[in-house]
Amino acid sequence: MSPARVVLGRRRFLALTAGSGLFILFRFDPLAAQEPAHPPGRPSYPTDFNAYLKIGGDGRTTCFVGKVELGQGSKTALAQLVAEELDVPLDTVDMVMGDTELCPWDMGTFGSLTIRQFGPVLRGAAAEARAVLVALAAERLGAPAARLVAEGGSVRDPEDPAKRVTYARLVEGRRIERHLEKVPAKAVTAYRVVGRPAPRKDALEKVTGKARYAADQALPDTLHARIVRPPAHGATLKDVDTSRAAEVAGTRVIRDGDLIAVVHERPDLADRALARVTARFERGAPALDDENIFDHLVATAPPGETVGESGSLDEGAKLAATTFEHTYLNGYVAHAPVETHSAVAKVEGGKATVWASTQAPFMVRNQVAEALGLAPKDVRVITPYVGGGFGGKTGARQAVEAARLARLAGRPVQVVWDRAEEFFYDTFRPAAVVKIRSGLGADGKICLWDYKVYAAGDREAKAFYDVPHQRTVAAGGWGGGNPPGMHPFGVGPWRAPSVNTNTFARESQIDIMAAEAGVDPLEFRLRHLSDPRMRRVLQAAAERFGWRSGRAPSGRGMGVACATYMGTYVATMAEVAVDKASGRVRVGRVVCAQDMGVVVNPDGARQQTEGAVTMGLGYALSEEVRFRSGEVLHRNYDSYEIPRFSWLPRIETILIENPTTPASGCGEPPIVCMGAVVANAVHDATGARLLRLPMTAERVKGAIAKG
């Protein structure tokens, strides 16, 4: 959603609620701002390198970027890019991230775009800064620039050891006014920092407890807020009695229209006061639940858009010797970061400062400005470390709540959602339906592919297999634009939005056809793939895994799946054991091969892969939001089960060397195959085909019983 859309949404919200009491209206909620479904092609990043880089008199380089460190290691990888292009030691680069006053504008941290899209911007800035420094050194040293060498934060003349000057001396803390046109970034072959493991810049703070998150900002006089919440989405407040809150000494009640909060100098005592508030709500939501939602989604989804088409479906159908029609389902999935949405806001003198756990500080700045009636320039959003995001911290309702309350309280206010609020206001990965009709010709080749996805979105929906007659249609998505009432609560991006759903459906269907054709599923894929990058990741995964050709189900419990994600190619193989009596699936081993072009930080990429594979076990096996009539039935981690240590498979990561292709992302791609690869392995183990995620023990048992 673009910022302009957010403003419009806010106005509609105000128009609908003006003078009519208290409403919880999700559909027009300005806080539902999300990662754009299609990232802007040419973001308006500043072109002056001074916006990103400052070289201090002490020789240290400070790099200012609007991206945030969610745990994905970008603080380190971005510093590596700067150190490389500027030719300074990595440990002399300091990162300032996600501060809207100090850092140039950024759209937000999502889509695995930090390196792919923003990397070139930052590299360009650093490369230009280095060229300017060399030019300045040439004047200072009286030597031709072409002869000079920049390294380790200095420029020297190889022909005269006396001629050497540090960047710090050249700059002396001043802004560099000079600019050069079209400075090329370094050739990959000259890399010394990029492409190698680097110590994480956040390590020391994180292992000592010193890393500050939004809730750790200790501002004097802070009040902690607990907010009156509806029991269900769609419920409206009828009346509220806050009189007993005062039984907890030191409590204040703050009301700002629909926002009713108790505040106290201690969060746990605010919580006690909230327990004394009684509020009566009227529920109005339709009777949707986690079982009937799928028919509802198909019925209410917006008209489908064709996102890919070639040949003729009629022709393909005529050529088909066998036709396969299947419907794939997955439920809503929560982000469930261990850090809940948190913010501290201070409003004084017509200005607001907000410390927020968010993936999109500049978006939050606009939301807070809108809510307070301030100009965005009078709002500063500071993003400390963020305790996990996964797409769920793209909007920041809690920051707006803190700001509204702080304005009325006249003191800083901290809002930290409890776990129940986190589940309630999460913008879930949408439940989705995929219908596929495909056909195999007499020659054993796929001749027909008719694909329609409801509610998940179109990202990577189009099949990359060689099929002469195909069409891909997407109806609705996670990025906004859905008709009112389609989802009973907020939905949004979840690590690799759209693509977990699309990959599960596509790769399951491919496996079904391979089994029918009696062909090994890897071999079947390779027969329909001409893209060399995809063939290479599959072959690399197979080699490491020790893939043995065979027709599924072989009883061995081995599965394969492959996918593309915004420029990255990924192939995953897994080995599972299924307890046929209980239906319980245990994933023993996962091999994940990726081609992401240039690998900026191989250890960081491995870490992202391990994390994604582990997290992916959750949506594959257990994670599904249960709800009824707008009420989210999870209040805590006891009923919503995320992966644990005992689930851990052996994880092996293969990073394909492809230094001639620019870097793409790695935080999301390795998760996208997890649903499909486990489903395919379960089929190989048992002969049972699971068409719905998650593959809970009960569902697996049921599928085995059905044969």
């Binding site: 969610l70 745990g71 200790a218 746990d268 996990g388 006891d638 240590f645």
Partner: protein, 159 residues
């Protein structure tokens, strides 16, 4: 009930006069300013708030202050009082056994309690000990490796 309560915190005596039914987590974070201990669930389900009380790992979000009267409380801030990293911290640091870092304090403190009791645990014992600790980033592999490495580096990683 508001009454004076004394305990040892990170090796130093502490006396507070607060409601002793309050949970230790909130007192640590907002009365004593030790924010390294994190809130994650408030119901002893995630482990982010883990601290040691008399060398046992406890969930501070579910431990009333009165339960620590006269006892020894150790938080992440007390693990390296002289600034030199504890072997577990060193192992988590060097092995990048974290991503977002939010669960890290709890993981390290829980592992510390394990190694005090069992200096050389098997992988299965570590898994069992940490199975009710949640990490959403998926740092599990490296956390296990870090604890094994710390256990090797000294007598149970303890000093």
């Amino acid at each position: 009930m508001v009454r004076p309560i004394s305990f040892t915190l990170n090796g130093r005596p502490v006396q507070l006069s607060v409601d002793d039914e309050r949970m230790l987590l909130w007192v640590l974070r907002y009365d004593l300013g030790l924010t390294g201990t994190k809130y994650g669930c408030g119901a002893a389900l995630c482990g982010a708030c883990t601290v040691l009380v008399d060398d046992e790992a406890v969930r501070s979000c579910a431990t009333p202050l009165k339960d620590v009267a006269g006892r020894r409380v150790l938080t992440i801030e007390g693990l390296s009082p002289d600034g030199e990293l504890h072997p577990l911290q060193r192992a988590f640091h060097d092995g990048h056994a974290f991503q977002c870092g939010y669960c890290t304090s709890g993981m390290i403190m829980s592992a510390h309690a394990l190694l005090l009791r069992n200096p050389h645990p098997t992988r299965a014992q570590i898994v069992e000990h940490l199975d009710d600790h949640l990490c959403r980033c998926g740092s599990h592999v490296r956390i296990l490796e870090a604890i094994e490495s710390a256990a090797k580096s000294g007598p149970g990683g303890a000093r």
